[in-house]
Structures are given as C-alpha cells and as structure tokens.
C-alpha cells in the first residue's frame, strides 16, 4: 500500500512539474518485468504525417523536443514485442512525461484457437453450446478468464455466449439464426485474426453500441497482420495432435500496398477422447491499398475447410462401466479402423471489402461489406425400422434391467450382469458392445430386401448465405465532443436440409417419416417427407448418396439498425450516451410439402418482425496516477432468434405463440488502477433479463409422442463482481496475477410453455412451468426405514412449505478464480505457474422436469418426494486445477531471425472428475404403482486430464 501511495504521488508530481519546452518523453519497459527495452523504434506522427523517428536507448528512454502544441500519436514497434500506439496531447509548451510505456512480449503463450473447443454433441438436449468468453483485451481479468478459464467452460458474468458481439472488419458477424459467436468461421487463422479491438461488459466501441457482454472487432485487414514471415508447429494432447501454420505480411509498402496471407493445417486425434479428431485447413489472403489523402481499400477472403470428429455425452453409469469419463459413444471399429459417426464437415468461405476514409485527424469513416456462403454439415446415424445402433442406448445398460429400488420395476439382476460383463470386458470380441458396431450395420443393409438401407449416415446441413453491410463514422467535433454513428444491415438465407452421406453397403434409402409412420402406418400420404414427389411418382423417393431428404427449408433473417454514440470529454471526465434502433425480421420458406402438414409446410410462412433498441449511458473519471472509475448502464430490447421463433421449423410454418422481444437491463461499476506494473480492475455488475424464449423438441413418454416444447417468459438475474490484479514482486521479472469472478446468477419468474405433438400439431399442454426458477422445500417430519424422508403435513393434510430452493443459471462456474506466478526475464524467458479454483457450476436443466405433470406423476397427485426428485438442480463439485507454462525465444543471426517455443501443461494434478457440462435427458420412467415419474440419468462432459501444448515458432 505504501508503494502504491508513493507511485500515486510521484505521478501527480510528474504531470505538474514540467517546465521544459514542449515535448514528449518516456521509458519503454516490458509489461511484466518492468525491464527497460532498448532499440524500440518510436515514430512520432501528427495525423498521417510522420514527424520523427527515434530508437530507445540502453535504458529504454526516448525523448522528442521542440514540439508545437497539438495532438500526436506515438507508434512503438519492436520485433520482440507487440507494437502499441499512444495518443498524446502537448499543451502550453510543456514536456509531457509519459513515465513508462509498457510493451508485451510478442511471444504469446495463449496461442490457441478460440473456436477449437471440442465439438460437443448436445443435439439430444435441444440446447446448443458455444465456446466461452473469447476476448483477451489488455486487461488482467480478461487475459486470465479468456484463456485460463476456457477449459472449464466459464461464461463471462454467466451470460449466454450469444450475448457477446463479434464483429469482423466492423461488421456484426454473430450467427443470424442463433445469435451464437461465429468463431468457427476463422478457426485456425490465429495470425490473420490476432489483431482485434475489444470492449468489456457494457462499454461501447467504435464499431457499434454493443451489448452487455463486450464487443470484439477482429480487424481482419492485411495491414493489421504482423509484418514478416512466421512459421509455427504446434502439438497438443487435448484436442488435435499437430498444427502447422505459416503467415506472411508485407506491412505497408512504400507504394501504399500491403498484403498478407495465413495458412494452417490441424491434424490428428488426442490423448483423451477417442474418435475426436481434426482434419482441418485454413486459408486467409488479403490485399490493401492506401491511396490519395486518407483513403484505404482492403479486400480479404478466408475459409477453413475441413472435418472434425465430435464427442458425445454419456451417463455416469456408462463412464463407470468403461472406467473412463472420456468415453465417446460416437465411434466404432470398421474393419479395425476407428470410425466416428458424428463428423462436422465445413467449408464456409468469407469475403470482405472494407473502405476507410480518414481525411484528417478529426474525422474517419468506414464502410464494409462481408459475404459468407458455403456448406456446414454434421453427420449422424439415421435408421429406419431397425434397432437403435448407439452402444450406450439406455436399453443396453445394466440399469435398464435392474435397479435396486423396486419402484422402478427392474428386477433382472442377471441380465444386468450380462450387460455389465459386455461393457467391462476388454478384448476385441467385446468392442462391438461398447462402440458402434459398423460391421453389423453393413450386414443388415447387405441382407435387406431389395438393397434398401436400414442404417445410413446422414449429413445435416445448415448452409448459410449472408451479406452484411456496415458503415460508420467517427467525428471529433471539438476537443471535448466526439460523435460516432453507423448503419448496419444483414440479409441471411440459410438452407436447412439433410442428405445421404453413406448408404453403408445398401443400394438406396427411402424418404419417409418414420415418426409419422408410428401413428399413421397405414396412411401413405401422411408418412411422406416430400408429398409432391410421392404424388408425382406414386412412391417415396429412393435416395442415393448426396440426395436431399427428410426436411428442406430456408430460414430468412434480416436485420437493420442505425446507431449514434456521443462522448463528452472534459479534463479527466468522460461521459457517453449511445443509442441504437433497428428492425429484425424472419420467416421460413418450406421447400418440400410434408405429408403431415400439406397446407402449412411448403412455401412462405408469415413474416415475424420486431422493433429493437438499445440505450446506453456511461460516465468515467480518470484520476491522475492511473486510477479510473467508470459507471455503465444500458437497456436492451432485442428480437428473439429464428430458432426461437418456430415451433417445429423442420416440418411446418407455425410460429411460436406469444413471441416477444427480450428485455435486458444491465449496469456495471468499475474501478481500475494501472501504474508501474501494478494493475487492478474490479467491476461489480448487475443484469436483469426478461422475456426470453426457448424451443425444444423431444420424445415425451407421458404422451407416447415426439413433441415440441415452446417456452416464453424466461428470466435471469446476474449479480456479481469480477476482479483482476497484477503486481510485480521484489524479485526482478517476477510478478503475481490473480482473477476472481464471483456471481449469483439465478433464474427468475415463471415461464409459460406450450407443448404440441409433432405429428399432429395438437396442443397437449398450455401451462406455466412452476418449478423452473425454484422449487419448494417441504418440512420433513422424520425418516422411514429406508432413510427416505417423511414429509410433515398440516391439519388439513397439506404439505408444509418452509422455503424455496433457488435454481441457478447453468453451465458455468459462478465462482471462478486463479492465482498465477509469472516470471518474465529480459532474456526472453517466461515461466508461469497457476492454480485455479472453480465452484457453483450447475447442470443444464430440462424444463419438462419442472412442469406440474412431470412432478405429479401419472396419478396427478403432487408429493414432496416427487418435486424433490424431479425439479431439483444438480450442482457440480468444486474443482482445483494446477497449470504451468514455460517459453523462451532466441535471436539468431544478429536479430534477423527469431526462434522460440512455448510449452504449457494443464491440469498437472490430473484431475479426471471435473464435469464441464452436460444435460438432463427428457425421458420419464413410471413407478411400479404408476403414481410418480423418475428421471432418466443425466449425461455429462468431463474436462480432460493432464495435457500439454507445445508451440515452436520461427519468424523473420
């Protein structure tokens, strides 16, 4: 504290006591170790004109003298450090002493792909999943949380991933249908996409007003790619074996041209999850030309073609049988080779054109168009009138034959032993019981009458075509007032369909709806996926590889908005007011006529439109010495997504009832201190979200039917603090950093659901979901002989409620923390050891289990035991993790070449019991007395055990 105070006073003195001629001086130091950096090139520019160039001396010092009053910018560049830019105003002929300008070593440890999260398969759950927090601004908390917390699937402030706005060259890029972050579009292009502007929380940026979970703008233009050649080889044991990457950037040439390219390949499997593999490539190329006075035009294109095998969640019973929490049920042996049934195959090229105009220091404007197209497929097994081929299908598990609780009516302990034996024996003759039995699937097809395949591999496509436009300007009206504004437009047409990927030894597959056939077996019209084909040909289509089948529709989404952002600066005070208004709309266009819904499946649906708006205000006060206080608040009225808008988009045009905009109020308060290697940010935040919607489809045992479940009125409230701090230690080069995110994120309100039968559109339930955000706690009178609670009743026979158990927002630790010890030497060596602690993580909840009918059972009588069993929420155990990393680089041939490596080892304690997510199944089991339901077991994903990542790079 003493030291902090000293620095604070020193800073005050320095800014006042300057009686020299106008000028700028500073010492350049390394960010971590505060060691002076010599030989850094410092360019002084006024507007676009370079006034002077100097190099720092041996003590890292530089100085510019005899400068007239005005705004200047300093550009610092060094081959070993990430360059930076500092804006300085020289007034009243004074010498501005910036004290220390810090540079970060260019050798980034965190050389990971943001979208390289294991592809989890949550298709059964109705939920989609996305990577966690994804920016790493110049901020201790974000540096730690953005990378260090990613393995545990931490979500920043508990927010859904779709709340994070991602821009590319100034154009909003979040998925038009789901709102999810689009990082998979440029995964593997780390170098080309490294340069980015980020804001935190509620802050606005130059590219848009933003939401409440930060905004990241990836520059993507060639001039932003680090100059020179750079090659790297990366190996890791948690995801894929090998990554090869090459990058070149020309930097800005004398003739105003710059160009860059970046290519990579990611190949192989990993040590932990069998069947997960990468065979992905990535290409980026761009050219840029500076011309005239302040004009820049950039054209870039990239794509990441490839495929990767996905992982599937299983129940704990399966993991225990296998003795492996990383068991993946998606693969099996085919002729002795591992084959994964679930492979993501993508080729989604993106082309962007960006024009910037900076006529003078006070005004700049940008306009950009980004086009994305291509194919995105995801394979899966499909089967017709044949046994479920999944090895961990619940009927293949011991628990299906035997449960110790008689109420399940599962008495077959001997059959359970047979099943257990098959799961637990090793040897190739048992592989077909633990993994997909491809040989059998082929043999069934070989023997099928007429060569009709009973098992096929399908490929589900979500093929997007999108054109987005963004125009924005920044106008510094005077020294106090800056105005930003822009217009955005997005048109998206996404075709959803599936094709036959592999007939698995058969000759054809038939395009009929087997779920419709369950109810309408004798009605040839109703079972048709493509009724018009049937009517024209007299039979359903016999499908060949590549033929579309099942469903085929366009999702159309359009978004328009305009925004303004005014900031007022006076001295050390800054205030900001921003607003955005827009219109979002979507509709469906069916491309086939479905037998079940001949009048409501082909052609256009109604257009659903929503007016959207955002209002934001902020105030910021910077105190001398590196203190900053900021208060942000915002209100957001956002449109629901296409996926929330349709009850069953695969079959019909029916819109979700009572669909409305999502309303969010958010506020945060930040204190930040940055000085002399000390760095602290503490933010308190509050967010209240109302009127969210969700749609899912699942088989409902109580209805004996596949149903659609549309929920409205979902609410969430997030309250918490995030703190990041970094401080140098007395030993030179040693520093300690820490991050803490502590929140209480809860569900609020009572959502409403409408449940319809998928085959008939008949509404079977239209009621509230009373146990979604909490469930009652009943008074317990005692325990019976089986140690089951006996619940107390009042004189009228009613159970006594003593309180309510709150349900928490799922799929992120609500407490996440890290403390790290860093060493950064002047000889380009760094070492880091960190410990992490996570807790208060909850399993994703299935709303079916929170309905009255699921909790009251087939007899319709609600009892405390049923509510407790059905509605309660699973909390994961807390986790401690230890990680370490080391890196070093060498200058070769007189600084001409640079060779370096970084090695990171994660989960050093090899903790194999860390649940990172999963979901509850939607199935119900009736009790022996038909008086209650039991749950199916939940499915989980685990974090991998000890793993390494080694990156070796060479640049010049």
């Amino acid at each position: 504290m003493k030291k902090l105070l000293f620095i604070f006073i020193m800073a005050l003195l320095c800014s006042v006591a300057a009686a020299q001629t106008g000028g700028i001086k500073a010492t350049v130091v390394s960010r971590a170790g505060r060691t002076a950096i010599s030989g850094v090139k410092v360019s002084l520019r006024q507007g676009v004109v370079t006034v002077a160039d100097v190099n720092t001396d041996a003590e890292g010092r530089f100085q510019f003298d005899n400068l007239p009053d005005g705004s200047y910018s300093l550009e610092l560049s060094s081959p070993d450090f990430t360059g930076t830019q500092v804006n300085v105003i020289v007034e009243k002929g004074l010498m501005r002493d910036l004290m220390m300008v810090t540079l970060s070593p260019a050798q980034q440890l965190s050389d990971f792909d943001e979208s390289n999260f294991t592809e989890f398969d949550l298709s059964d759950s109705g939920y989609s999943d996305a990577p966690t927090i994804l920016y790493s601004a110049n901020d201790v908390f974000n540096n730690i949380a953005g990378y260090g917390f990613s393995a545990i699937r931490f979500k920043n402030r508990g927010y859904d991933a779709s709340s994070q706005d991602v821009y590319l060259a100034g154009v909003y890029m979040n998925d038009a249908l789901t709102g999810n972050t689009p990082f998979s579009l440029w995964t593997g292009l780390n170098e080309a996409m490294r340069a980015k502007d980020t804001t935190v929380g509620l802050e606005s940026s130059d590219f848009g007003v933003g939401g409440y979970n930060g905004l990241t703008n990836i520059l993507a233009v060639p001039s932003s790619v680090r100059k020179g050649w750079r090659f790297s080889v990366l190996s890791n044991s948690a995801l894929y074996r090998l990554r090869l990457m090459g990058t070149y950037s020309s930097g800005e040439l004398d003739n105003g041209w710059s160009y860059a390219f970046n290519v990579s390949a990611r190949l192989g499997g990993n040590d932990w999850v069998k069947g997960v593999y990468y065979r992905s490539f990535a290409f980026y190329g761009g050219v840029e030309k500076k011309f005239g006075t302040g004009h820049r035009l950039a054209l870039f294109a990239f794509a990441t073609p490839g495929q990767r095998g996905a992982q599937n969640a299983s129940t704990q019973e399966v993991y225990d049988l296998m003795g492996d929490n990383f068991y993946n049920s998606n693969w099996g042996y085919q002729n002795g080779k591992v084959r994964n049934a679930r492979v993501r195959k993508t080729f989604e090229p993106v082309v962007g054109l960006k024009y910037s105009f900076t006529p003078n220091d006070d005004f700049s404007a940008n306009a950009a168009v980004v086009v994305r197209t291509g194919k995105n497929g995801y394979t899966a097994l499909d089967w017709y009138d044949a046994p479920d081929p999944r090895p961990d299908y619940y009927r293949n598990l011991p628990s299906f034959a035997y449960m110790s609780d008689d109420d399940y009516e599962r008495y077959d302990s001997e059959k359970a032993e047979w099943m257990k034996y098959a799961w637990t024996q090793s040897g190739s003759s048992f592989d077909n019981y633990k993994h997909i039995n491809w040989d059998r699937l082929y043999n069934v097809n070989y023997n099928s009458a007429g060569g009709r395949s009973k098992y096929v591999v399908e490929e589900r496509h979500v093929d997007q075509n999108e054109i987005s436009f963004a125009g924005n300007f920044k106008w510094m009206i005077d020294r106090n007032i800056t105005l930003l504004g822009g217009l955005d437009a997005k048109w998206n047409r996404t075709e959803n369909y599936k094709v036959i990927d592999d007939l698995l030894g058969g000759k054809y597959y038939v395009n009929v709806d087997q779920f419709a056939e369950r109810d309408f077996a004798s009605d040839p019209i109703k079972i048709q996926n493509d009724l018009d084909y049937y009517l024209a040909h007299g039979e359903a289509q016999k499908l060949q590889k590549g033929d579309k089948y099942g469903y085929d529709y366009y999702a159309f989404v359009q978004k328009y908005d305009g925004w303004l952002n005014g900031s007022f600066t006076s001295g050390y005070f800054k205030a900001n007011l921003a607003g955005k208004a827009g219109y979002d709309c979507f509709w469906r266009e069916g491309l086939v006529r479905k037998g079940l819904f001949p009048d409501n499946s082909l052609g256009k649906s109604a257009v659903k439109g929503f007016f959207t708006y955002t209002a934001k205000a902020s105030a910021e006060y910077d105190l001398l010495g590196g203190h900053r206080f900021a208060l942000n608040a915002g209100y957001f009225n956002e449109a629901p997504t296409f996926t929330q808008g349709f009850v069953s988009p695969r079959t019909r045009n029916t819109l979700t009832e009572n669909l409305t905009t999502k309303k969010t109020f958010a506020a945060d308060f930040t204190y930040q201190f940055t000085n002399s290697g000390y760095n602290l940010r503490a933010t308190a935040f509050f967010t209240d979200i109302k009127d969210q919607s969700d749609v899912m489809s699942f088989y409902d045992d109580s209805q004996h039917s596949f149903t659609n479940f549309a929920m409205t009125g979902l609410g969430q409230r997030h309250l918490g603090v995030e703190i990041g701090a970094k401080a140098p230690l007395p030993v030179n080069g040693l520093s300690v950093s820490a991050a803490l995110s502590l929140g209480r994120y809860v569900y609020t309100g009572t959502p409403h659901m409408v449940q319809t039968v998928d085959n008939s559109a008949e509404t079977v339930r239209d009621e509230d979901v009373p146990y979604w955000s909490s469930h009652p706690i009943y008074k317990i009178a005692g325990y019976d002989a089986y140690n089951k609670p006996i619940y107390d009743q009042d004189a009228q026979g009613n159970y006594i409620i003593t309180g309510y158990q709150q349900h928490f927002v799922t799929s992120t630790p609500q407490l996440a923390s890290e403390i790290a010890l860093n060493y950064r030497g002047n000889d380009y060596l760094f070492i880091e050891v960190n410990g992490q602690y996570f807790s208060n993580s909850y399993l994703d909840m299935n709303p079916l289990y929170r309905t009255t009918f699921a909790c009251s059972g087939p007899d319709g009588v609600l009892t405390p035991a049923e509510v407790e069993n059905m509605a309660s929420q699973e909390r994961f155990s807390p986790t401690f993790l230890l990680n370490a990393s080391v890196g070093k680089s060498w200058q070769l041939a007189g600084r001409k070449y640079n060779l370096g490596f970084s090695l990171e080892a994660k989960n050093l304690l090899n903790n194999l019991c860390v649940k990172t997510g999963g979901y509850e199944q939607t199935r119900l089991i009736s009790s022996s007395g038909r008086d209650r339901y039991y749950r199916f077991d939940s499915k989980y994903f685990y974090m991998t055990g000890i793993n390494y990542m080694l990156n070796i790079y060479f640049k010049f």
């Binding site: 593999y277 002729n335 008495y411 043999n443 023997n447 056939e517 077996a521 060596l829 038909r930």
Partner: protein
C-alpha cells in the same frame, strides 16, 4: 543459468516430440472406409428337436436349462409389418417355438427363412398363456430368460451379449412354405402343446374361415396408470361394435371413439361396471373424450373353421402397431358371403386357437386363392 535453460528446453522438446511421434504412428484414419465382410454363417448340430425341447417342459414349472441343449429351426415370422414384436418363431419338422429376444426390428438381423441355432443352456423354458380350469387350457412353450419379476414364466433376453452368445445365425434357406392344416389336425387346446402337435407354433394355412361377427378389444383410460385396475379398463366384446378393421391405429381408434358408437359401453371389468360409460367422457372439455387415452390397440377378430356343421373358433389377433392395422376387412367377408384362407402362426392361448399372421398378404379368398387386398 543460460545453459541450464537450453538443456531444459531441449530435453522437454525432445520428450514431447517423441511422445507425439509415437502417437503419430497411429494416425486418425479419415479416408474411404472399406466395406466390412458379410457375416460368416454358423453351422451347429442340434441336440434336440423343438418337440423334444417342448416335452422337457411341465405345466407350471418353468426351468433353466442346465444341460447342453441346442435346437435349430427356420425363422417363420417377420416383425417388419409389425404384428410380431420383439420375438420371432423358428420351426423344424416337429414344431415351432418363440424365441423371446426383446429387441425391435429383429427381421433385420434374423431374416425370415434364415436358419437359427439356439444354444438353450442357461436360458429358460416356460409357457405363456396357460389357464387352468374348464375355460382354460394350454398356452405356448417359449424360450427366453428367467423372469425374476415373477410375472411370467420367461422374460425377454434383451442383453446383447446374452443374445449373441445363445442365438446363432446360419444359412438363409428361403422363406417357408406353409402347410395346410385341416380341421381334424387342429390342436385340442386342453392338452396339446408343441410337444404333442407338430402344427402348434408353426406357419400353417387354415382354409375356409367364415367371419363370426365378434371382436374383442381392451382399452385403457390411461396406460400410464395401473392397467389392471377395473376403473382403467374398457372391454369391447360380445359383438363387433362397428369395428371392421384387423386392428386400430391411434388415428382409427380416435375416429371410432368420436363417432359415438361406443358411448354405451361400460367402463370396468365384467361384474364391476361401477365407473360409468364411455360416453360420459365425451362432453368433458371439447367433446373429444378427454378422459380416454387415444392409442393404438390390438383387435381380435373371430372366425370359424367348419367341419360340416361343427366348427372351431379361430381368433385372429392383430396388433394396433402393425402396418396393416387399419385395413378394412372386405364387406363380403364381414357379411359371411365369402370365406377366407389365412396363413400364420398357429398358437394356443388359454386353450383357444389364436392365429397370428405376418402381414395383410396372408389373407386370401377361399374361392379365388387371391389376396383379399389384391388390386
């Protein structure tokens, strides 16, 4: 220090690359997969005929086979049209027997016409459908697994390893030709079993059946609730109640219900009609009988096989989940003006003949020999 750093880094590098390289020897295969070979056909030597196996069973005494016992037979049923479910029958020259596998879509793995060997050791042999007393009689001897719940004499095998280590696939010999069974060859349900009458459990054709103007269906108000409760049951019997199909899909059942022709049927078991009538539920809510579950139901249609003026009742039982459930029985069959020849598995249930067809093609007009559904 500097030197140490170098050595440390180099050794780490070496270690990690060796590990990587070693694992790289097993690269992930992403090319075209070769098609697997066809399964090898098994050949075994049976120790028992089906009749011999059935003869080891004593009524009321299901048992687990402890001695070597292998039977062999050709698959005579097909669960594709949906009238058989979770099991198949095999037959040899001496009789036919149901193998209770417990999986869906069995015809994919055990083809109609395929030779099957069943190693019965450690499996259970028991009877389904036996009833004592004057109105009872024999049921069917089956091969399955011990039923630890005690509800039936045998249970389904279910466990994949249990199935694969006891049920083996041989050559595909071709679909069976049914033998015609005459009136005198019909089993006497009081005494006959697969051990004593070779037609029981086999695929046979019965000729000249005439409609008996009688159906039997058991509906449940809510199948999620206890199905044995009288208050949960509706018997549709003693007459046809307008039912003119082999069975009823969910849609058909709903259609019958809404037509109102069942409104006067009482809810409850015989002698316990204390739960009102079907029609009582009609006017609750929107008039769609909200209290009665709409589901697919099995239907028994009764026919008679004549020998002069005497006859035997033949119950043709069809599942509501079969793909031909809703097919109309032709009017000339229903009004008795034409008789039919039917091919199926001849089974016994409580001493009565229950005849189970594989598909709608198994019904032919006696006079023409052509399918009643021929175009």
């Amino acid at each position: 220090m500097r030197k140490f750093n170098r050595v440390f880094a180099a050794s780490l590098l070496l270690f990690v690359s060796c590990q990587s390289l070693k694992e790289e020897f097993e690269p992930v295969f992403t090319g075209e997969y070769e098609q697997p070979a066809a399964y090898k056909k098994v050949t075994m030597t049976p120790t028992h005929t089906i009749a011999q196996l059935a003869a080891t069973y004593k009524v009321g005494s299901p048992y687990t086979v402890q001695t070597p016992m292998v039977i062999s037979g050709i698959v005579s049923t097909d669960d594709q049209p949906g009238n058989f479910y979770k099991s198949f029958y095999i037959q040899d020259e001496t009789g036919g027997i149901e193998i209770k596998i417990g999986k869906n879509g069995l015809y994919n793995d055990y083809l109609p016409g395929q030779r099957i060997y069943v190693d019965c050791s450690d499996l259970a042999i028991g009877m389904y459908g036996y009833k004592s007393g004057n109105y009872g009689g024999m049921g069917m001897v089956q091969v399955g697994f011990r039923d630890l719940s005690g509800e039936y004499e045998t249970s389904y095998l279910v466990a994949p390893l249990l199935i694969d280590s006891h049920v083996f696939r041989g050559e595909i010999e071709g679909k069976l030709t049914p033998e015609v069974v005459s009136f005198s060859q019909l089993p006497n349900g009081k005494t006959a079993t697969q051990a004593t009458n070779r037609n029981v459990g086999r695929l046979v054709t019965l000729k000249g059946l005439k409609y008996a103007d009688e159906t039997f269906v058991l509906l449940y108000l809510d199948s999620n609730k206890n199905k044995k409760l009288s208050s949960n049951r509706i018997f549709i019997s003693d007459g046809t109640w307008g039912i003119t199909t082999w069975a009823m899909s969910k849609a058909k059942m709903t259609e019958y219900l809404k037509s109102g022709i069942w409104d006067n049927i009482s809810v409850g078991n015989a002698g316990d009609y204390n739960y009102g009538k079907v029609g009582d539920d009609k006017y609750k809510g929107d008039g769609s009988y909200p209290g009665i579950e709409k589901a697919a139901y099995s239907v028994s249609q009764y026919f008679r096989m004549y020998d002069g003026s005497s006859y035997k009742e033949i119950q043709i039982r069809t599942s509501g989940y079969s793909k031909f459930a809703d097919k109309q029985i032709p009017a000339d069959v229903l009004d008795g003006s034409r008789s039919i020849d039917v091919t199926g598995i001849l089974t016994l249930y409580q001493g009565s003949i229950q005849f189970i067809v594989n598909s709608a093609d198994d019904f032919c007009y006696s006079d023409t020999g052509k399918s009643i559904y021929a175009q």
